[in-house]
């Protein structure tokens, strides 16, 4: 019996690790584009898990999460590109980006976190738009962000001489740029998973859940609700900042277009669609919402050509249409998300009249 208990987790972890290692090589068979899609799936999983701290654990509805991602992305872009002629190293920029995003989170959160849930949603949404509008317009009279054109030729992630762009030979294996980023992103994702898991089952996590359940009762037992909400907000923002920095380096290019409201909505949708507060669910949501649109993008056009001999519907709009419908249908038939935590499932079942 004891042997069995030890055996099972080890085997499943081993299996998972094998799949994770093999994945970028399998994807490469379909072309590097698919490895890049994989990279984005993990980057979004990382972002969604960062947002999960805010929405899933602390129960704060944040519709402007992308703003913190933008802060991290522009921090990297400005400090490691020819735009200002700066090429700072990763160990300086990434923490700085996370710190600035965290600061932005505290700045926004400290006056607004006492607001009711839906008001907080609209305020965060507005903040996201403010940040985007500034990035779009801060090219005159002093050119800081280069406006809508964005910033190009951004340095890739590098540790000393080891660059994440271009192909490298390691242990007789040829690793492409996207494949190297893949492993970096997996490492970061594991980090954020551990943070999520450990917070969830801690004194802080319990306090967050208590606030979610009944804020007044939480105050009455001595929980400083304002500080704890701010903590969640700041932590989520920091992870957003880190993800933004990596995004910047991976793309080599940032522009305000990448930080529109629909992106914030997309990440929130990943969290809710997958199963709020449940880590595997959130990851599933992120992977589905990244990969599915790409499949549609590549699949819808050729399929129409094959079926009708011509393009009836613009693939891009069909892709968004399917995304929108998917949100509506999942919420209709699986209101707790596709893969909710067992506790949450139980809550819903018991709440049903």
């Amino acid at each position: 019996m004891k042997n069995g208990q030890f055996f099972r987790p080890t085997v499943s972890i081993g299996l998972l690790a094998t799949v994770l290692v093999a994945l970028p090589f399998v994807a490469a068979l379909g072309g590097q584009a698919w490895v890049r899609i994989l990279d984005f799936a993990i980057l979004y999983a990382f972002l969604a898990l960062g947002l999960n701290i805010v929405v899933g654990l602390a129960g704060l509805l944040d519709l402007g999460y992308i703003a913190f991602y933008a802060v991290g992305a522009y921090t990297w872009a400005l400090l490691a590109s020819p735009h200002f002629g700066l090429h700072w190293p990763i160990w300086a920029i990434l923490p700085l980006g996370a710190g600035l995003a965290c600061f932005a989170g505290v700045l926004l959160g400290s006056p607004t976190l006492k607001l009711r849930g839906d008001y907080l949603a609209i305020v965060t949404l507005g903040f996201g738009e403010i940040v985007r509008i500034f990035m779009n317009n801060l090219n005159a009279p002093i050119n800081i962000t280069n406006g809508p054109q964005g910033i190009t030729l951004i340095d890739p992630v590098s540790f000393g001489a080891f660059k994440f762009s271009g192909t490298t030979q390691i242990f007789g294996l040829s690793l492409s740029g996207p494949q190297k980023y893949y492993f970096l992103l997996v490492a970061l994702a594991i980090l954020v998973i551990i943070v999520n898991l450990r917070l969830q089952n801690s004194r802080i996590g319990r306090a967050w859940q208590a606030i979610r359940e009944d804020e007044i009762a939480a105050k009455a037992v001595g929980i400083n609700t304002r500080n704890l909400k701010l903590l969640a907000f700041a932590m989520g923002a920091s992870f957003g900042g880190i993800a933004g920095g990596i995004f910047s380096a991976m793309q080599g290019f940032v522009s305000p277009e990448s930080f529109s409201l629909i992106e914030s909505i997309m990440i929130l949708a990943m969290v809710v669609l997958g199963g709020m507060g449940h880590i595997p669910g959130v990851i599933l949501g992120a992977v589905l919402l990244t990969v599915l649109p790409e499949v549609l993008r590549y699949g819808v056009g050729p399929l129409q050509m094959a079926l009708f001999g011509k393009m009836l519907v613009d693939p891009e709009s069909l892709r968004m249409l399917v995304f929108g419908l998917a949100l509506v249908l999942v919420m209709r038939f699986k209101p707790a998300g596709l893969w909710p935590s067992p506790e949450r499932k139980r809550e819903l079942q018991e709440a049903a009249p």
């Binding site: 006056p111 009711r116 609209i122 317009n137 005159a140 509506v328």
Partner: protein, 307 residues
């Protein structure tokens, strides 16, 4: 001085439109606590339906006034049907779901409607037919048009009518009762389903009217136009204290004025550092500042935490 007056006029016009759209948000929120993100799309569809109907009729040789009325009626009817369908199909099944669920559905419906509109009307900007004569007036150095006057007057009249409906009719009383406490209202014999449907249908009709006004005013329309408009209008509703009809109207007008004055003066205020393309941030900056000091909005009642 003339810039000031000019911007006041522009602000009033834009604000009237915001107010009409904000009413749709505030009614639905007041009754069921849902941010109906798809409402902006309803407005957009109102504009586009008018373009199609009025445009076709004009081409067929119908007089402008008649074609315009037909376009407006068509827009109102289509939007009312759409609002009813939205509630019936998308939101009603979720009435007892977790709080975030209907919000995500609303966002999903917004995306669906936007892309359906793009498939139907294409992704290009469309010209709105001129339905009103272009007459200019001048007052103390500021110019304004007949269209602007009509927009402000029609909005004011419509809002007056809505207030009468809500405070003088049985349906209005049922709506107010449901907003106070749905469970008790239903015990008192109010048909909650009908009240909620009414809020959606009335809100959508107002949205259609606003859509026609936006089209007439800017003479241009686009499948994405509803999103920012909806966002601003929702901001106006929150600014005025969401759930409060008069608050939404005042919030809308106030937001229009702030934006117009802000855009007119931001260059001077910041020594040319920030230009009028920052217009869109005013709505949100004002919102954040107001909520910091008045967490229930300018005219909202102080709602304690519900037990």
């Amino acid at each position: 001085m003339d810039i000031f007056l000019q911007q006041i006029i522009n602000g009033l016009v834009q604000g009237s439109i915001y107010a009409l759209v904000a009413l749709g948000y505030t009614m639905v929120y007041g009754i069921m606590g849902l941010i109906n993100f798809a409402h902006g799309e309803v407005v957009m569809i109102g504009t586009l339906v008018t373009i199609t109907v009025a445009g076709t009729l004009l081409k067929a040789g119908m007089p402008v006034a008649l074609a315009g009325m037909a376009g407006l009626m068509a827009a109102v009817l289509v939007c009312m049907a759409l609002g009813w369908a939205l509630e019936r199909v998308a939101y009603r099944p979720l009435r007892h779901a977790p709080r975030l669920t209907p919000l995500i559905t609303a966002i999903g419906m917004s995306i669906v409607l936007q892309n359906l509109a793009m498939m139907l009307w294409g992704r290009n900007y469309m010209t709105f037919p001129s339905l009103l004569p272009k007459v200019d007036f001048e007052l103390a150095g500021a110019n304004f048009t007949a269209i602007q006057i009509i927009i402000v007057l029609v909005s004011a009249a419509t809002m007056g009518g809505l207030l009468l409906l809500v405070y003088r009719t049985k349906l209005g009383m049922a709506m107010r009762a449901t907003a106070q406490n749905p469970a008790v209202a239903s015990l008192m014999g109010v048909n909650i389903n009908r009240v909620i449907a009414a809020a959606f249908v009335i809100g959508s009709a107002l949205g259609a009217l606003a859509g026609v006004m936006v089209g007439t005013y800017y003479e241009i329309a686009h499948y994405q136009m509803g999103f920012m408009l909806g966002l601003k209008a929702f901001t106006a509703a929150v600014l005025g204290g969401i759930g409060n009809l008069a608050g939404a109207m005042l919030g809308g007008v106030l937001l229009g004025l702030i934006e117009a004055l802000g855009a007119g003066y931001i260059g001077d205020l910041t020594g040319g550092f920030l230009g009028s393309h920052y217009q869109d941030i005013f709505a949100f900056v004002v919102l954040i500042v107001v909520l910091m000091f008045k967490p229930s909005g300018l005219f909202g009642e102080k709602t304690g935490d519900r037990a």
